[in-house]
Amino acid sequence: MAQKTYMQALNDALREEMERDPNVLIIGEDVGQFGGCFGVTKGLFDQFGEKRVRDTPITESAIVGAATGAAAAGLRPVCELMFVDFIGVSMDQLFNQAAKMRYMFGGKTTIPMVLRAPQGAGIGAAAQHSQSLESWFMHIPGLKVAMPATPEDAYGLLLTAIRDDNPVVFLEHKVLYGVEGEVPDNAGAIPFGQAKICREGTDVTIVALSKMVYSALEAAETLAAKGINAEVIDPRTVSPLDMDTIIESVKKTHSLVVAHEAVKTGGAGAEIAAQVAEEIIDYLDTPIMRVGAPFTPVPFSPPLEEAFIPGAEDIVAAVEQIRS
């Protein structure tokens, strides 16, 4: 059992897959000697050389498209967007090309590529470097979308992403890079579409994504002190989305709060709430609450950014509101 940072876990997963499979390669801006803007690819250039860890020009359409074309030609590229916010200049290659090629071609190709990208606010990077965009990706058939919260999940989900024969959008939270957690020595690939019950509880189900898992666990402790026993679930991938686990939990707790950092309106939480309202509304004793960012761009100044980012206290407030 080793204690590792989220970043180290990602780095290990990349290294191991590259050692195992010569078809795996990394492309992106400053991923080489520099080790990536946040340091995730550190050391890989030294170990594998420029051929397999290659710096690109600042042309995200060409990066995502080259990964797509190389994947169609049989490689397993892992490409990095320095910030997920840059998907706007490369979305076509992802959603109209990579995601749809297999379907459009009648199933006659696979596109085994991974697009890694850091999401999230919290470092004062302002409106164009702090967004969380998972709901865009989960709306696109053909893509899979992973959002690990812990080092162990980061490691295990990235192994799965690289081995998957479909395009995977792998969303890391930049504030989590330095977070430590246990990664068992025998840790392995974690299948997509299997939610994790992070804390068992009986009174309310809190479904939380990415960094909000920590807020949810913190909220659960606060609630426990108030006699409310919350169950915390991390879906880990939002496409595929393990609704079975969520539904089982809500059948038990009769109450649901969904929490994510993305803007609440049109966020992934809406989908989860809607599915529950469609499948098991009769089990609910309370309204379904969503906790998410307000409907504003991400502001720069610390007090504004803090007010923007949803946290444990918002989850606590939501739970208390529906139980009052």
Binding site: T68, G69, A72, Q97, G142
Partner: protein
């Protein structure tokens, strides 16, 4: 460069095959037999035929919305193409793709593409895979004059040249992007002028002369195979029909169209072969007849094939 008899006949055959295929589609579209819309390649046959004659089966191409010519030239099966365009379950894509998304990865065809400029980055990726594995292959990206302005195309040109990838960018300059003449979409008249901005050779050829296209692409392909990087070959040509079938084409003068129809690449090549004694009139007729039969078989195959079942909708989303 001397072009073998065999190559000449091969190229002519390809052009004629494209011509007949597209002419049939024109008929079928007018008769409302085809769903969706089609962009015909009539008049531009020499580009695809000349370019693909310089390639091997293992080489990759990316195509465009106007893709039938490229696919046929790269060896696409007429039956499977026709069935796909008819939306039949026996088609290349089981009816899921249609005219704009036909692909055959086994033949290196990484797809027609509904997005103008969509193919550049993908071809570059195929080039990256070739270089990565040290294979003796190239990737060819077909793109239009309109597509040449798209940012994705220019990013692809840059990446391919920065990494010296074995990619050949074949520009089909037919003078228009839908109704927009190049005089309005760019300040230059020769797209090849952009090559210098990527330190790659930029060549202009008569896109209605199949041998000229073949020679230029052969040189570019040789360069790519030697690891010397990408090239841009601009082929000046013209589309005879509207942008899509149904386009009344009010933005072009009849004279201009007539002028270009006179430059038909097919009789021009036929004449050359007759002149050089490569083929006799009789052999030419036999060749035509053979293709016509093949095409008729493809049509029958497409017409007699079943439509997909609604439940097929759900398949092939994920591997």
């Amino acid at each position: 460069m001397t072009i073998s008899k065999k190559k000449m006949i091969e190229m002519y055959t390809t052009m004629y095959r494209i011509r007949q295929f597209e002419s049939k589609l024109q008929e079928f579209f007018a008769a409302s037999k085809i769903p969706g819309f089609v962009h015909l390649y009539l008049g531009e046959e020499a580009v695809a035929a000349g370019a693909c004659a310089a390639l091997n089966k293992e080489d990759y191409i990316t195509s465009t919305h106007r893709g039938h010519g490229h696919l046929i030239a790269k060896g696409g099966d007429l039956k499977l193409m026709m069935a796909e365009i008819f939306g039949k379950s026996t088609g290349y894509c089981k009816g899921k793709g249609g005219s704009m998304h036909i692909a055959d990865v086994d033949l290196g065809i990484l797809g027609a593409n509904g997005i103008v400029g969509g193919g550049g980055p993908i071809a570059t990726g195929a080039g990256m895979a070739i270089q990565y594995r040290g294979e003796d292959r190239v990737a060819v990206c077909f793109f239009g004059d309109g597509a040449s302005n798209q940012g994705t195309t220019q990013e692809a040109l840059n990446l391919a040249s920065a990494w010296e990838l074995p990619v050949v960018f074949v520009n089909e300059n037919n003078g228009y992007g839908i109704s927009c003449p190049i005089s309005k979409s760019m300040a230059i008249t020769d797209i090849a002028d952009r090559a210098a901005g990527y330190d790659m050779p930029g060549v202009i050829v008569d896109g209605n002369d199949v041998t000229a296209v073949y020679e230029a692409i052969t040189a570019a392909v040789a360069r790519a195979r030697k690891g010397e990087g990408p090239s841009l070959v601009e082929c000046k040509t013209y589309r005879w029909r509207g942008h899509f079938e149904g386009d009344a084409c009010t933005y072009r003068e009849k004279d201009e169209v007539d002028e270009w129809i006179k430059k038909d690449p097919i009789p021009r090549c036929a004449q050359k072969m007759l002149d050089e004694g490569i083929l006799t009139e009789k052999e030419l007729d036999a060749l035509h007849a053979k293709i016509d039969t093949e095409l008729q078989e493809a049509i029958t195959f497409a017409e007699e094939s079943p439509l997909p079942e609604p439940a097929d909708l759900f398949e092939d989303v994920y591997a």
